[in-house]
Amino acid sequence: MSEVRVLVGTRKGAFILRSDERRKDWTVEGPLFPGWEIYHITGTPSDPNRLYVSQSGGWFGQLIQRSDDGGKTWETVGNEFLYDGVPGTHQWYDGSQHPWEFKRVWHLEPSPSNPDSVYAGVEDAALFHSDDGGKTWRELPGLRDVKGNLWQPGAGGMCLHTIVLSPDDPNRMFVAISAAGAFRTDDGGATWRPVNQGLKSEFELPDATAEVGHCVHSIAMHPSRPNILFMQKHWDVMRSDNAGESWHEVSGNLPSDFGFPIAVHAHDPNTIYVVPITSDSHHFPPDGKLRVYRSRSGGEEWEALTNGLPQENCYVNVLRNALAVDSLESCGLYFGTTGGQVYVSADSGDNWMPIVHDLPAVLSVEVQVLL
């Protein structure tokens, strides 16, 4: 029987939740790295026991931890994230230019084929790569050449939080930055271009359709259709059918099209999930009801998934890295909340149950299926 391992990063440590493929009975291990902010803990597709952790804190800065035995033991690896050359400046809140300053690693994305190859998305926004298992890091500076001087931090910081590697082309990848937008490379990260055509930010940008500056919250892709992308923007749920060349809105009948994460079903590339949040100033679900919304048509038509989720007095948020999908035959979904709950559905979202109630605020959720 398969084992399911859910990797949870929180404001005060990491947790590993384990179950079998029925996903009903769970063990909770942790906190790992207690007291530290764990922006991301993730596994490596080609070696599931190779885990990477972004560990940071206001006192002692950024660390990267690596495990080669599924989280039993950990090794501190490289934490030297130096911008390439003279870092330059980006736009500051008051419109002035501000020097690029490294703050933390938001997201770690291991290669699908090589456990030693891993990308790191950081704040202030940049993309780094390691080809030695996280011991050393090198920036891919071409990304910041794409009008980086016009990028501006959002309320959560100017973070590169999403990295999507194309499964059919090792030279293609997408990244998303708040508040700069989505970007694509077709040459392994040497050069980049913005892929934001069709995004509209009427209330956030002087030019609502600007080439850069949009607050993209997350992007998802199904590996069987690498040219189709789904995006949760600050406001608006968007879809691209041409690898980001253009986007169109698919928010349809959602109660709010503001939100953070977006995910695609493991086996049905047309089924997608979002968690609507009331607004940019009210980071909690509409009407105090925690509802995941599912579209089986790739957007536009959405249904609320509520069985097992609190439907009154619920005022938590679900952050951009805190929604994950497993690969079991009956597709499982997992999400964590800022209230410290982690929920699981073992049936594509029809029914939910809490795995844990009272963790620190959840920053990230990833899932591994171990055969």
Binding site: W59, F60, G61
Partner: protein
């Protein structure tokens, strides 16, 4: 031997329980102590001071012999008791937050 005490998070990170003892070449300065500490415990690089600029992280403080040495230059000599190993060089996390 120079004795250095670390805050809880850094003791855990370094895998030590009490004060660490370091052999430090003379002249014994704050910078030389930190250099020796990071050489002996490389997982601490970047946690006490910036990797590149070597500047103390804002919420880290240095104390010894009842004095706050946080604003002393890195090449300033430490108190004689620290150099003699009779008093520890204390690295602490500043009280911060709300």
């Amino acid at each position: 031997m120079i004795r250095v005490t670390l805050p809880t998070h850094l003791r855990t990170l370094a895998g030590v329980t009490g004060a660490v003892e370091l052999r430090v070449e003379e002249p014994i300065t704050q910078g030389a102590i930190l250099e020796a500490l990071e050489t002996a415990y490389p997982m601490l690089r970047g946690t006490i001071r910036d990797i590149t600029t070597k500047e103390r992280r804002p919420f880290v403080r240095f104390f010894a012999c009842g004095e706050d040495l946080s604003h002393e230059p890195a090449d300033a000599s430490v108190p004689a008791e620290v150099a003699a190993g009779t008093e520890p060089f204390r690295i602490i996390g500043a009280m911060a937050g709300g």
